[in-house]
Symmetry: C2
Subunit: 336 residues, 2 copies
DNA sequence: TTGAAAGCGCTAACAC
DNA sequence: GTGTTAGCGCTTTCAA
């Protein structure tokens, strides 16, 4: 299996120039006489020389790879961000080391450390919660970190998001306007700040505006999965809620399917609104009214910010808030 | 932003041992006196020393990273494989450089080359088609390549798959047994061998067994997307087909939703069977009968094979065929 | 415009 | 059990 490898030194010898010159032509340095460049290029071609990025990384202290920490590639929401990240990374000649963290703090720290060991030039972090431990690691890291679709309540780390609180507030306000008094909130764990500090906040703001008392019995912590949604359905049915805002599309799909199966009509008996506008929202019947987010762009913008940081440029704004929307589909009754 | 970096040399000096000894304890080499090890470990702790994986890679010629080429992370099917790959990689202390190829030959070749430049120890390739150009690159690569969920008709590259032809044959045979004579085949491009040489083959075998003449007007090349499925629906409706086998779950979902909306009942007027048993198949109404594949395991097994190859071990079998199943859901009529 | 030479931080013989 | 010494393949001053 061992194939001999041709190095910059071989090229230099064959072309009768120095390694430095070869390095210059490989790196597009303009200070090379066209004739020399041509000669070197010919030898490179003939020898099929491929620069060794690892050696280059060691010498230059830049690996041209960035780490991406994702809860789970299999999660449609985060996968969409990842695609935006990779496209922009590629555009800037970076590669992505992708690692799943399962949203587990310990794993996130481990992964971050192995990424640093691999000398990534930067890191994009996606997750549902950032605790002090993680924040400390970000600070300690010698490469910049940008959050994508991930909130840091302390606002210490640059990030790209939508205004989750405002979006939820708008959704719930719409629901209230249509007469709902008991609106359930189906979220992931409240230990995650996106839920506890943003979605819940938006929800409460809407209630307050409408002078509806907050009832924490209507707030449910479940998992972000289809089955979690199904399991939650009877619980929500018992609560007497007539509408529900859900934090994850798959969960919303499970909730809707289970409702319809048990004779609870969506939207007549229960209106459902979800969060991420993934393809799931179009596939269910009824289709799901959802907050819309520029998923791809969240990733893309985060990666753009990271490239700036990696080149020691200043960020125009540390916290980028992209616009959200709300798209009405069959899971809610038509506008009033 | 520059943080000074502590090297193996610093540790050696502080611990009053040689670099070699530090290297040994870092790498768990047993040939170190416990007392020495302890002393070194203490210094490592105190200095917060982190080995530089790039330097290690250059010196040892092993980067402990593998390249993963995926058509699109956003594709639920491939994402599921990717998760299996990453989990096993992590288990073996490898990291994954993930790159999207959009199934485009040229991009696949580029990406493969940059992965090789980064000195990956191996590559997992996922895609819908392998042409001669790509095969040549695989051969030329100095790191082993394993295909996951991807067929090489020439069988030159190690791979992990299910028996697509047999699965489709079984599906179509079942359909025929229930009285269908006109069964459509909704696939991706026939230039992709998984379609042209496997699914189509299985389809034809089933027809032949039942002495039903093959009609290529019933074979449709569409895209692997929800919208492609929707667009295909009227075409299939016009064909007079009473059943259809679909090559992608999202496409099947689009086909089903569009059918129901235009008054064609699934499964009464049109039975639908799909290929990948992703979560999509449970979300639609009716839910979709599907071939089941051990998605995660396809990735996991491929990665296991790759670890063997990377350690110059022999493969028990070059082509691994994992078992498939068929799960009946609402998009087909109940068993006869 | 080009070359010489000194590393980058680590591993891997080899010697002791 | 431990140290010495070459590199790994490249970038990057510094001189020329």
């Amino acid at each position: 299996m061992e194939k001999q490898t041709v190095t910059i030194y071989d090229v230099a010898r064959e072309a009768a120039v120095s390694m430095a010159t070869v390095s210059r032509v490989v790196n597009g340095n303009p200070n090379v006489k066209p004739a020399t460049r041509k000669k070197v290029l010919a030898v490179i071609e003939r020898l099929d020389y491929r620069p060794n990025a690892v050696a280059r990384g060691l010498a230059s202290k830049r690996s041209t790879t960035v780490g991406v920490i994702i809860p789970d590639v299999t999660n449609i929401y985060f996968a969409a961000l990842a695609r935006g990240i990779d496209d922009i990374a590629m555009m800037y000649k970076y590669n992505i080391i992708l690692t799943n963290s399962d949203d587990a703090g310990e794993q996130e720290v481990n992964v971050l450390n192995t990424l640093m060991a691999k000398q990534v030039d930067g890191v994009i972090f996606m997750g549902n919660h950032i605790d002090d431990k993680l924040r400390a690691e970000f600070k300690r890291a010698k490469a910049p970190v940008v959050l994508a679709g991930t909130v840091d309540p302390n606002n210490e780390t640059p990030s790209v998001n939508i205004d989750y609180a405002a979006a939820v507030e708008e959704v719930v306000t719409n629901l209230i306007a249509r007469g709902h008094k008991k609106i359930a909130l189906a979220l992931g764990s409240l230990s995650q700040s996106i839920n506890a500090e943003y979605r819940l906040t938006g929800y409460k703001r809407a209630l307050t505006k409408a002078k509806i008392p907050f009832d924490d019995a209507l707030v449910y912590e479940a998992g972000y999965s289809y089955d979690a949604g199904r399991k939650l359905q009877p619980v929500i049915a018992d609560s007497g809620a007539t509408a529900v805002f859900v934090g994850d599309d798959e969960m919303a799909a499970g909730l809707i399917n289970a409702s319809m199966e048990s004779g609870i009509n969506v939207p007549d008996d229960l209106e459902v609104v979800t969060s991420n506008d993934t393809i799931i929202t179009q596939i269910t019947r009824p289709a799901i009214t959802s907050i819309t987010q520029p998923l791809y762009d969240i990733g893309a913008v985060a990666m753009r910010m990271l490239t700036k940081l990696m080149n020691d440029k200043e960020l125009d704004e540390k916290t980028v808030t992209l616009p959200y929307g709300i798209v009405r589909r069959g899971s809610t009754k038509s506008a009033d």
